[in-house]
């Protein structure tokens, strides 16, 4: 239960970090909050030859909040983003989801961008990014690219980050007027990874009828599963929308697996129940917004 040996790099600037990662190539790994990587090292599930520690790069501990959304720097910790009133005002789903991520003590170290790069299909933040249609900014010396959420999550624990690249920030679009979001999940204990979870986004038109309804599902596929249920809900006010059909549509689209925590059937059932609850919550919020 001790990490295997590695060469430790402690860059003092973004440029130094990118150079160190480029040089290490496929043998290098980024160390951010360490709340997923260090357990994997301790359990010897990973053995990178080089670790590039970005914890000294205070230039990446940023939160840029604007009218169109929130750009979260690679060293912004979960707790910092969760506490920010400005973030909550522009995109309330971030705080709601972060409160379900692990425990407060883990959130003091873990980073939002690290959670995205880690790409755990049971994690909340990848689902949030996928639902909102956000993006992740990746850098290597002299080159920067933005990868949309739809292309970022490739498989379980696999993201579009290539060897030698650093994810420098992630962008979460703002909540538009007459829109609402919600996050619902079921976990064995508060703070555990969810058995199933749903992030929902509902938009209404000027007559307060549903114009779009989407969910992103957690823990029921190799990556967050985004399902558009606008047609199933119907172009109706939330009070008469067909939430049950929407929930069925979501259940039909997911393909969960059985593991020691839950059977596939139970996860599918939870996904339907949570989808209906989250969509109703999101619609209620949209009506008030």
């Amino acid at each position: 239960m001790k990490p295997p040996p590695f060469d430790y790099h402690a860059p003092r600037s973004l440029g130094e970090a990118l150079d160190a990662l480029a040089e290490a190539g496929e043998h290098g790994k980024v160390l951010a909050g360490g709340q997923s990587l260090i357990p994997m090292l301790n359990m010897r599930l990973a053995a990178p030859a080089h670790l590039v520690d970005i914890n000294r790069l205070s230039e990446l501990a940023t939160l840029d909040v604007g009218p169109d959304g929130v750009r979260v720097g690679a060293l912004a910790r979960h707790a910092q983003v969760e506490r920010s009133e400005r973030v909550a005002a522009v995109q309330p789903l971030l705080r709601e989801a972060l409160r379900l991520v692990a425990h407060p003590v883990i959130r003091n170290r873990g980073t939002v961008v690290g959670s995205l790069a880690h790409a755990d299909p049971a994690a909340e933040l990848p689902a949030v990014l996928a639902l909102l249609g956000g993006s992740v900014r990746l850098a290597r010396p002299g080159v920067t690219r933005d990868v949309p959420a739809a292309d970022f999550f490739v498989g379980p624990l696999e993201s579009a980050v290539e060897s030698g690249e650093l994810a420098v920030s992630a962008f979460f679009p703002a909540l538009l007027p007459r829109s609402g979001t919600a996050f619902r999940e079921v976990a064995r204990r508060h703070g555990d990874y969810a058995l199933a979870g749903i992030a929902a986004l509902v938009r209404l038109d000027d007559d307060l009828r549903i114009t779009s309804a989407t969910v992103a599902c957690v823990s029921v596929g190799p990556v967050p599963v985004v399902v558009d249920v606008t047609a199933a809900c119907g172009h109706r006010p939330p009070a008469t929308a067909d939430w049950a059909s929407a929930a069925w549509a979501v259940q039909d689209r997911v393909d969960p697996e059985t593991d020691i925590h839950a059977t596939a059937d139970y996860r599918r059932h939870l996904t339907g129940v949570l989808a209906e609850q989250a969509l109703r919550d999101a619609a209620r919020e949209a009506t008030g917004a």
Binding site: P5, N42, A79
Partner: protein, 172 residues
């Protein structure tokens, strides 16, 4: 090997550690501070929790080199310099918030930070605050009592301090 400097419980300590040395092992093996306990080494049990620049973190999920130059408080540093137990420590004693004591260092550090940030937590906030710490003995009820009692002791002490600082002044 890396030469690092940590301020541990107010004392400046220099140690040489390999990159892979966990902060928990650095405290226990290199610095002899065995009050910090190690249970699971993957972030689940919470008994290795220490304060890093005042914030609770898992020392088993932190490399010692990463926190070079930072301030660490372990359970050994919670009591006052003259040995008087801190309000949180006294409350745990009073309310039987521990049995075997294995989990206690982690709870004490977590609760110390919790009450600093939120001096009068609700029941729900206490539950949320300690939800990341496991205890195999107490069944948690006495730990929850201890947290509320610690909040009370701290409030009493603040009142006593305020009274002694302003002798004769009237409270408006």
């Amino acid at each position: 090997m890396h030469e690092i400097t940590l301020t541990v419980n107010g004392m400046i300590r220099q140690v040489e550690v390999p990159g892979r040395r966990l902060l928990s092992d650095c405290l226990r093996h290199d610095l002899g501070l065995t009050g910090t306990h190690v249970g699971c080494e993957h972030g689940v049990c919470g008994c290795c929790t220490v304060l890093l620049d005042g914030e609770p973190v898992r020392s088993c999920l932190t490399f010692a080199v990463t926190v070079d130059g930072h301030d660490i408080t372990t359970v050994e540093g919670l009591a006052a310099r003259d040995g008087t137990m801190s309000p949180v420590q006294r409350a745990f004693g009073e309310c039987h918030g521990l049995q075997c004591g294995f989990c206690t260092p982690g709870f004490l550090c977590t609760v110390t930070a919790l009450l600093r940030e939120n001096p009068a937590p609700t029941e729900q906030e206490v539950l949320e605050g300690i939800s990341g710490n496991l205890c195999r003995c107490t069944g948690y009820q006495n730990i929850i009592k201890s947290v509320h009692r610690a909040a009370e002791i701290m409030a009493e002490e603040r009142r006593a301090d305020a009274d002694s600082e302003q002798p004769g002044e009237e409270i408006v």
